[in-house]
């Protein structure tokens, strides 16, 4: 039972780190209705600073790295990202009172990656002195984009099937109102509870033609998001220019401090979003609590395969698990709002921000690091 006692000690230890302290502090601050607020401009700038730093340090290190090693972990990242969405599609989406499109969007967000969770993971890895491949942070887009694409494609297939059913039904029921669209047409799934019964409209809405989903626009949309852009910009600058002087005098020293403030914001967000989550029902809460750990363990497993076959470091395995357990908070939601417009944002943002991210940060990260340390010791 040495394994378990070792693990527990390590786990409890991590719970006292300042990163988590600020997260919990933020939750408390919001819970007592404090008017403390981090201005939006500061929040956006901190996210930028963290991701460009992660990119820069990766880029600088990659210059001398053997990128062939990256192949297998990158493929695994893709596989995990897609898998997470399918898991959500066949679990959460089948629960009673859960609308299918909402569930698919939620699964997409949990498959996608959170830059701030990644940054927190990297910080704690460094504190613990665990080595990892310099390119490991660059696995981010390999999991993020496939997850979002899969979710949008699945939702689109589902919606057009529903639409076909609906329209064939409707043809027989002439004169029925056409206003409804994908959202209200779903029987029993109207979790949001709003119908357009009382709505008024100057003229009837024209029928929308089902369209084929195109993959490339979704990929482009993801890459253009502010988080991925900052990460890739940092990578490119790290590889192509000599940013060591700025990196060491500016981006690196500020990293931990800025991260702690970001954790505060995440904490405040989590509390603020709890209400939204409550509206959409308990299945989302359960999914959001269990998902991050499950996804992390799956990724940890894949990572261990790479560890044994190609020598992927245990630190790298932890990073893979952390990005799997994280759920996107910055780039993902707008991409989903545009890509699955009929899904209720309260469902997926509530799940991710109020429960998913705190679980990934407060339980996931210490768990996977503890696990790696036990495995190293053995």
């Amino acid at each position: 039972m040495n394994f378990w006692s070792d693990f527990l000690t390590l786990f409890l230890d991590k719970l006292q780190s300042p990163t988590l302290g600020f997260l919990i502090g933020g939750m408390v601050v919001a819970a007592v209705n404090s008017r403390l607020a981090i201005p939006d401009a500061i929040y956006k700038f901190i996210v930028f600073m963290l991701l460009i730093k992660v990119g820069l340090s990766g880029g600088i290190a990659i210059r001398n790295a053997n990128l062939a090693e990256m192949l297998l972990p990158a493929v695994f990242a893709m596989v995990v990202g897609i898998l997470i969405v399918f898991i959500g599609r066949y679990t959460l989406a089948n629960m009673p009172k859960v609308k299918v499109v909402d569930a698919i969007a939620t699964a997409g967000l949990f498959g996608a990656v959170s830059g701030s969770t990644l940054a927190a993971g990297l910080t704690i890895l460094e504190t613990e002195g665990i080595q990892y491949e310099p390119w490991a942070a660059a696995l981010y887009p390999f999991m993020d984009i496939p997850a979002l694409v899969t979710a949008i494609v699945l939702a689109s297939i589902y919606t057009s099937k529903q639409r076909d059913k609906y329209f064939s039904k409707e043809e027989s029921l002439s004169k029925q109102r056409v206003t409804a669209g994908g959202y209200t047409s779903e029987q029993g799934g109207n979790a949001g509870g709003y119908s357009s019964n009382q709505g008024i409209t100057a003229s009837g809405y024209p029928k929308r033609q089902p369209e084929r989903v195109k993959i490339w626009p979704i990929v482009k949309e993801s890459l253009q998001g502010s988080a991925l852009s900052a990460l890739l910009l940092g990578l490119a600058l790290g590889i192509l220019t000599r940013p060591e002087s700025v990196y060491e005098s500016f981006f690196d020293p500020l990293f931990r401090g800025l991260l702690s403030i970001l954790m505060l914001v995440m904490g405040m967000e989590a509390t603020a979003r709890i209400g939204e989550l409550r509206k959409v029902g308990q299945w989302y809460a359960i999914y959001a609590a269990v998902g991050p750990l499950l996804h992390g363990f799956i990724a940890f497993g894949f990572g261990m395969i790479a560890h044994f076959t190609t020598g992927f470091s245990l630190g790298g395995v932890v990073i893979l698990a952390v990005i799997a357990s994280s759920s996107s908070d910055i780039s993902g939601p707008p991409t989903l709002r545009a890509g699955i417009p009929s899904a209720n944002p309260s469902a997926y943002i509530g799940s991710s921000t109020a429960v998913g991210t705190p679980v990934a940060l407060a339980i996931g990260i210490p768990l996977f690091i503890g696990l790696a340390q036990v495995l190293m010791g053995s």
Binding site: G181, T201, P345
Partner: protein, 105 residues
């Protein structure tokens, strides 16, 4: 010389900015004015993943002066048809007594 006009007001989610601006342009309006707005309506669904803490407003209010009711209704119908199934939004028409000065109307 002044001229009478209609004012179409559309309040909807911020991420539709560019798409609605395009619809207005294509309908032949001479311009539009847009302001950041917050609000509450029947749907009350958040439009983005941005933090709510210290959040700025997540709606937009468009105001379009049109020379006649028809153009306004055309814009409004197009916007409603494309977006109001999935996004929050309201559209209404006001009377403008007269346009006093405009570079082009």
């Amino acid at each position: 010389m002044t001229q009478q006009a209609c004012k179409l007001v559309i309040v909807t989610e911020k991420l539709l900015l560019k798409k609605i601006a395009k619809i207005i342009d294509e309908a032949g309006a001479t311009g539009y004015t847009v302001v950041d707005a917050g609000g509450k309506g029947s749907r009350n669904v958040r439009s983005s993943g941005q933090p709510t803490i210290s959040d700025t407003y997540s709606n937009l209010k468009f105001e379009v002066l049109t020379p006649n009711r028809d153009m306004a209704v055309k814009i409004s119908d197009e916007v409603a048809a494309q977006f109001f199934d999935d996004y929050s939004g309201i559209a209404y028409l006001c009377d403008v007594m007269e346009v006093l000065h405009a570079h082009k109307f």
